[in-house]
């Protein structure tokens, strides 16, 4: 078992006494202590909140694809299930507190995920990816087709409720950011614990060699469905954040196949089977284009119209993705680790 764990790409083990904890604590301190005080509304509302939501979705997909080795193209569907479930729970069971709505929405997404995970027992690789497309199309179709999901709202676009826990209301940009950060931090910590447990090792065993895993007694059916369930749960919660904390509206068209691909690219570029990778990938996919777009607009905005700028950014980002993946197919996480190791070697050789 231990050998398997060590051969994984950058396993994140949050055993509670390693210096890893210090880094996480520093980041949390920064996230809670510094950003809400000095960050602008723009930073929190337009950059960090979507970053957090997509990072959580990427963690969800990483559990499934990175750790358990099941490729899925249905992530956006589970985002939508989470968002719509939370909306309906909030609407129809007003006595439930919002946190309970979120957890239940995650559970509903998990249930849907398990149903669409069933084909994974027979299908693998590309074939499984194609079958998860069914989730993508089915969910979007169902949400548009049946007006009940959007409370028969004429235009099918719904308003997200105000985020309120007890007497605390998280309406401001800072509030919604802190709310997202807290949810993502807790969910990440729980996921890290889970992946370090026997269940996480089962995932990796199934990914690395299904037959061998079966031989050593890993229950394939349960493990795969559990992976689908946990993954969909996390993605569902991310969907709630995306709809309630970021957009503050829910529309089925926002959860299309493009979004599924976006999340898949986040984990591929960030690094498969790595929690850090989900965050780094999300940063690259969400924050980097914004930076580039603002730089482009500031430097060349007077020369080209926004359409031309947009196109050239796509080219730049596309080229960067190719360059990164050639330099390090295992993602930005591995690239960073290599850079750090090189810097360390340099330091030790000097001293």
């Amino acid at each position: 078992m231990t050998t398997i764990t060590e051969t994984t790409v950058a396993p994140t083990r949050l055993s509670w006494l390693t210096p890893n904890l210090l880094g996480v604590a520093l980041l949390l301190l920064l996230g809670y202590g510094l950003v809400p005080w000095i960050g602008s509304d723009y930073l929190m509302d337009a950059v960090l909140t979507p970053f957090l939501a997509l990072a959580l979705a990427a963690i969800g997909l990483n559990v499934l694809t990175g750790y358990a080795g099941q490729v899925s193209l249905g992530s956006a569907a589970f985002l939508a299930v989470g968002a719509y479930a939370a909306y309906n729970l909030n609407l129809r069971l007003p006595s439930l507190p919002l946190l309970a709505d979120i957890v239940l929405a995650g559970a509903i997404a998990a249930a849907v995920g398990i149903v669409f995970g069933l084909p994974s027992l027979r299908l693998r690789g590309f074939y499984l990816a194609v079958s998860t497309l069914a989730a993508q199309f089915f969910v979007q179709w169902a949400l548009t087709k049946f007006g009940w999901f959007s409370n028969d709202n004429a235009s099918g676009v719904i308003d997200a409720p105000v985020i309120r826990i007890g007497s605390l209301s998280f309406t401001s940009a800072t509030g919604r950011y802190v709310f997202s950060l807290s949810i993502v931090a807790v969910a990440t910590a729980l996921t890290a614990r889970l992946l370090a447990s026997q269940i996480g090792r089962n995932f990796i065993a199934v990914r690395d060699h299904e037959v061998a895993a079966k031989v050593i007694g890993v229950p394939l059916l349960r493990t795969k469905l559990l992976a689908f369930g946990i993954s969909s749960f996390l993605i569902g919660v991310a969907g709630v954040l995306w709809a309630f904390a970021y957009l503050r509206t829910v529309e089925p068209a926002g959860f299309n196949l493009d979004r599924s691909f976006q999340i898949l690219f986040i984990i591929i570029i960030g690094g498969l089977a790595s929690l850090r990778g989900a965050f780094i990938g999300a940063a690259f996919i969400v924050v980097f284009p914004l930076l580039l777009s603002r730089l482009g607009a500031a430097l060349l905005g007077s020369v080209f119209d926004s359409g031309v700028l947009e196109m050239s950014q796509r080219i730049v980002i596309g080229a960067l993705i190719i360059a990164f993946l050639i330099a390090e197919p295992r993602g930005l996480v591995a690239l960073i680790d290599r850079a750090v190791a090189a810097a360390r070697r340099l330091r030790s050789s000097q001293s």
């Binding site: 723009y42 235009s155 940009a173 970021y246 529309e251 930076l291 603002r294």
Partner: protein, 448 residues
């Protein structure tokens, strides 16, 4: 060692954050008298044809006011574009990016999804949100939505306008009885929005109604048109979007349905919808709030003053006077006039968003004023009040002759009185859900 590494990581993160946070300060500070229009435009992506035309027209008109008049009473109009590709989250990002600019007058996203995401935000920031010809229908009720303006035409009025047009073609509303109307709608929230309204009107006027869905994107409609033929429809209302429109026209031709009995709605009325259908579109009729063509004086001035100075926004000059370009021009007129009206009350200076909101709530342009603006025949009139944010826009119908649109009807009024109770029912429900105080007069303080 690891501690060091993490400290470095944290330092790097802090630096990156610092870079992002400090970016907004690079923005040039506005000079004293400028009014800023943030534009959430879409020039790339699937809806670029509409986006380039509409935002091109809007910018062309703002440019005309700046070049010809030196701004509105000396207040220069400025704008900045952020590309959204019609995606909601990009629209939100652009909103957050541009909202802190000084002197924001109004937002004009031309996207229902983006508009929905902005309603909470603009209400809090007290800046008007203009959704010309589209948007959330119940935001027509200014008592509940003080900052949202679905100017000229909301989806319900469009429905009523189309039915009224069919009535005039048949020779009166009583002739609608027993006629068969099929609504062919896009399988999206947008497409389904008017289903209950067609039902309501069918009950009212006694015409038979069948509503048929075309799944997105709509590039295969054989079975739908066979059903239409079986139903022996007298008229087909095309409530389409994008590729669905030319395919509908071509399929209609194949199944032998007369094209001049197909009536397009406001998102099926552009050159981009008919040109790909070629011959099949000849004779097709569609609703519009603004006539096409460049013969109107305001368009002539745009061509002379703006394009003459090399500042025109459209790359393809042939698109001047097209449906989307003219919609942008009309949108420009309405925004500029709202600013002008508000300036008369508050002074000829940079106005706050709330002051511009007051201007929109008093945006009353009668046909004489429209003529003075050089837009006679381009659009009819508008009469926005504090509680009616649509402003009773009239509609007209144009027929495609194979090369250009030709107006074939008078200016027709939708049946606003019949629609208002439905709108109020929906808006008061929203007010209740949100705990919004319903305004009882235009002087009420607005806010939540």
């Amino acid at each position: 060692m690891t501690t060091f590494r993490h400290a470095k990581l944290a330092l790097g993160a802090a630096l990156a954050l610092g870079l992002v946070t400090s970016l907004p300060t690079f923005i040039p500070q506005a000079k004293a008298d400028e009014q800023f229009f943030p534009l959430q435009s879409y020039r790339v992506g699937p809806y670029a044809a509409g986006g380039t035309g509409f935002f091109g027209g809007f910018i062309d008109y703002l440019n005309l006011i700046n070049i010809r008049d030196g701004g509105v009473n000396g207040v220069k109009l400025t704008w900045d574009e952020g590309e959204t590709q019609y995606e909601v989250e990009r629209g939100v990002e652009v909103y957050e990016r541009l909202k802190s600019r000084p002197g924001v007058a109004a937002w004009n996203p031309l996207s229902v999804g983006i508009a929905y995401a902005m309603i909470d935000r603009i209400s809090k920031d007290k800046v008007p949100l203009i959704t010309i010809n589209h948007g959330r229908t119940d935001s027509t009720d200014g008592r509940v939505f003080p900052y949202v303006f679905p100017l000229l035409l909301n989806p319900y009025s469009e429905t009523s306008g189309i039915v009224n047009y069919i009535a005039t073609r048949e020779g009166g509303a009583e002739k609608l009885k027993g006629k068969k109307i099929v609504v062919l709608y896009h399988g999206s929230p947008y497409g389904k929005e008017t289903i209950p309204i067609y039902k309501l009107l069918s009950d009212k006027y006694g015409f038979e109604l069948e509503q048929i869905e075309v799944p997105h994107p709509g590039n295969e409609q054989q079975s739908q048109w066979l059903s239409i033929r079986r139903a022996k429809a007298d008229y087909v209302v095309l409530r389409g979007w994008g590729v669905m429109n030319p395919v509908a026209l071509k399929t209609a031709q194949k199944t032998g349905f007369p094209v001049d009995h197909i009536i397009g709605n406001v998102w099926s009325n552009s050159e981009e919808d008919v040109i790909p259908a070629g011959d099949a579109a000849k004779g097709y009729v569609a609703i519009t709030t603004q006539a096409s063509g460049a013969e109107y004086p305001v368009l002539q001035e745009v061509i002379k003053t703006v394009y003459g100075a090399g500042k025109g926004n459209l790359d393809d000059k042939k698109r001047i006077g097209s449906v989307y370009h003219n919609l942008g021009i009309v949108n420009g007129i309405l925004n500029v006039e709202a600013v002008r009206i508000a300036q008369e009350k508050f002074g000829k200076r940079t106005l706050t968003g709330d002051e511009v909101r007051w201007g929109f709530e008093h945006l009353q342009l009668d046909p004489a004023r429209v003529e003075a603006l050089g837009a006679k025949g381009l659009f009819h009139s508008i009469n926005v009040t504090w509680d009616n944010h649509e402003g009773n826009g009239r509609v007209t119908f144009q027929q495609w002759d194979g090369a250009k649109w030709k107006v074939v009807s008078d200016w027709i009024s939708p049946d606003w009185a019949a629609l208002r109770p439905i709108i109020e029912k929906s808006s008061t429900a929203y007010a209740q859900e949100r705990g919004i105080k319903i305004r009882t007069s235009g002087d009420d303080p607005v806010g939540q």
